[in-house]
Symmetry: C2
């Protein structure tokens, strides 16, 4: 029995936080024939990455990390993509495939294309977004199974440029556990605005609102958070730099979704004010079905309370 | 070694859904010397409750269930408290303590007092609210450890009426696992408006917004829900009848909190529109601290993603 060759021989990872670190660990686990190298702008992150073995070799510069790599994945916040790409350019192989894990695809594709015009011209930039993560960030947050049963959306410019590279990228993500879907970049940004960006904005807002009250103390908010609030605090604990960049990079789609959300909230607010119990009941009944589908498709844990009740603090 | 006598000999539970069922199972587990009886308006729930043994005896009427009980706990939605209390009145012992588990305390205290004026006059109505639950409801949802390490807020009218009964109720909740705190009813309603009612309203809203889009399909919303949306669907899967009643019963506090939330959201929306990255970053940094406190106080699971990543669908 022979192992098929990995889709890429040498994968360079730029940015060694939750996503970059998880990719490095996943390659070591599921594609052990491939080599990995990596770089992070932060010296403390580089040191920790080396200690945890997130990649085979942690380099002292981006250009050194990408030397000889046939796949380079940028795992930095959307706003840092352009600078990270420009910094590695001197070390890049002419035929290396360039990809990323950013949560916004239109702006990131543009930033990478501008920073690496030769690769862009030859169709060697294929952005991607694994829809996976936790509220933790940094070099200690990654783990190899992060992408198992999660979707990775790949947004090629078109399907004719470098189709072999595209196929290899699909095989790469499948090899480390993801289901892959191809999507048009602008559509990706709209879909994620509703499934990810708006939920984060709402969670950040409500946690802020609760922190600023005078009549209710911070200690009360914490104590009685099991009534629903604590779920929002998890999301609102996500990396601030990354999320600042997401909202600035996907501004139009986020503002569009926010407008619709506000209209719907205003309508429920009116139902409460006038005491329209039927309108509330109908709305609350309708929203149950979507959870059943999410569980049926393996995108969430069916156990009550995400299984937290099984694992309480002693 | 002798076991101390239970704070109540016979506990009657009216309403055998998630909360009522969990109390019955918790009494069987942690206060086995006490007797339980119960009733639910729905015959199918009564049958299932008997099959699961949620209480020692499932009765065919509320009045029969409360006969001989020294503690009666109403576990029905806030809007159903008055009718449920009126229905059991003929069977009630004159010195039985009356309590409940409703999420709103001012309106429920009033409803119980009006339905049971004799008990009210003698200080025998002491409302309570265990801040615990899951998104599941009905007679199959309960489990005995639901209240472990969760807070139960007790809202006596004052501390001089029937202080022995109050102490017994405190001991009862502590015996089945809860931490107890006494609180003024109106303050309870304000605290819960922010830690529970507003989060549910927001979650119901965003799940509705996502279901109504034309540009993004339902199937896409489900597939890519791991980006944050799926957490909201859990909360928005909660019991519609109960939540309709909560919003109608705690209208003023909910509308007040909603107003503040909307102001804060509008301010973040403006920061996105004008590209004020510093304002976004500052807000997102501030909201991380509160999560650390919630975990430190044992009110949530510290594992990333609530531990869901450890337990993925095969």
């Amino acid at each position: 029995m022979t192992t098929p060759p990995p889709p890429f021989r040498h994968i360079a990872i730029i940015g060694l936080g939750l996503l970059g670190g998880s990719i490095g660990l996943a390659v070591a686990e599921y594609l052990p024939q491939a080599t990995t190298s990596g770089y992070d702008l932060d010296p403390a992150t580089r040191q920790r990455a080396a200690e945890r073995g997130l990649v085979g070799k942690v380099s002292d510069s981006g250009a050194e990390a990408v030397a000889g790599a046939d796949l380079v994945i940028f795992c930095v916040p959307p706003g840092a993509m352009a600078a990270a790409a420009a910094a590695v350019a001197p070390g890049l192989s002419a035929d290396a495939l360039i990809s990323d894990v950013g949560s916004c695809k239109v702006s990131v594709a543009r930033a990478l294309a501008e920073a690496l015009p030769d690769h862009d011209r030859r169709g060697l930039i294929i952005p991607a977004h694994p829809v996976a993560g936790t509220e933790h960030s940094g070099p200690d947050a990654g783990f190899p199974s992060l992408f198992q049963h999660r979707w990775c959306i790949i947004t090629p410019r078109n399907l004719t440029d470098e189709v072999d590279k595209l196929n290899a990228l699909v095989r790469f993500w499948e090899a480390i556990g993801a289901n892959v879907e191809l999507m048009e970049p602008a559509h990706h940004d709209l879909v994620l605005a509703v499934t990810s960006h708006l939920p984060h904005l709402i969670a950040y807002t409500i946690v802020g609102t609760a922190s600023d009250l005078e009549e209710v103390t911070q200690s009360e908010v914490i104590k009685y958070s099991a009534g629903g609030f604590r779920d929002f605090t998890r999301i609102a604990a996500s990396d601030p730099t990354m999320w600042r960049d997401v909202f600035l990079s996907n501004k139009d789609a986020v503002l569009e979704m926010l407008q619709r959300f506000t209209e719907d909230l205003t309508s429920l607010q009116r139902a409460i004010r006038v005491g329209d119990g039927d309108a509330l009941f109908d709305h609350f009944t309708r929203t149950r079905a979507i959870r059943r589908s999410i569980i049926a498709e393996g995108q969430d844990d069916a156990r009550p309370d995400f299984g937290r009740s099984d694992h309480k603090a002693g």
